[in-house]
Symmetry: C2
Subunit: 168 residues, 2 copies
Amino acid sequence: MKLTEAKQQFISSWGSFGTHWGINRTMAQIHALLLVSADPLTQDDIMEELNISRGNTNMNIRELINWGLVERVILPGERKEYFTAEKDIWKVVKLIVKERKKRELEPMLQLLDKLEGVEGDKKDKNVKTFIDTISGIKKLGKQADKTLDMMIKAEESWFVGNLIKFFK
Amino acid sequence: MKLTEAKQQFISSWGSFGTHWGINRTMAQIHALLLVSADPLTQDDIMEELNISRGNTNMNIRELINWGLVERVILPGERKEYFTAEKDIWKVVKLIVKERKKRELEPMLQLLDKLEGVEGDKKDKNVKTFIDTISGIKKLGKQADKTLDMMIKAEESWFVGNLIKFFK
DNA sequence: ACATACTTTCAAAAAGTTTTGAAAATTCAA
DNA sequence: TTGAATTTTCAAAACTTTTTGAAAGTATGT
């Protein structure tokens, strides 16, 4: 397979992969393109490669910058802004985990704390089931939260090299 | 807070939580409702509680059954089918991980295998960047795949009780 | 075999999300 | 300053996904 074709396949799969993970198709495609590009690209390069409009490109680049996945690069003597993606995949994973944890897990845990204090007689089986379910989710959620915090701080070598031992 | 209100808040948040995780709102809401209901419910109960149509209810219940998150229950002497959700949250998490791994991670790894064999001179920096990126993703993806396999087999006590030690 | 209760299907409609592109805002060199 | 290059915004359009509900299908007791 030729590089051009391989690139296209990667970009397109990364795009649909993204849609299952709460990241929109274009954002994931731009990310994929920058991941496999050796040099930084301009907005116009990206628009042309992916056949998308200026507005869409701009909006999604900014979102990628918010997530910390893409950086603006100013090349000396150039008026245009260039963009480049973090290439270390472990760092990429950590950035994504960090962002989603903040946006999703943390608000959910706050809500669960509140809901656990529901009024009512614990002998009522509906009340009991509700509280038990909420507590169960909260317990696991809190643990996941801690685990992810540690993962965010960890080195890749931990994940690739050592975790496996633990499971034995 | 009263039980009714707490239930509603939980259902609604679980619903929007789901949409960030590739699960549609209604499917997640039905799941939430069944999670906090002490007794099995019928399709009509669900339709009424969540104010959704018969078709939508039916379709999403079936999808939940496919995922293994919900079971059909036949009560003796009753014509109607009842539905109930797996209440053990650790099992729920494992079922979801298993399903998404199969649907998303595995196909992605297959593609990466194929793409890694791209033709071209490795001294060309574009070819090199492409191969390096793909290999990096593949390496981490394979490790994640193994780790998730072990997680799927693991007991909750491992996750809640022991993982934390490992990170120290 | 029939009638009734119940479940499933699916085309069309509604809702939700993403994309476009032209206009406005900003930046920068002269 | 000015004006050309570049970036950003946002309302409307296009696209995608979800939902509806009526009709078709299936199962059950008599």
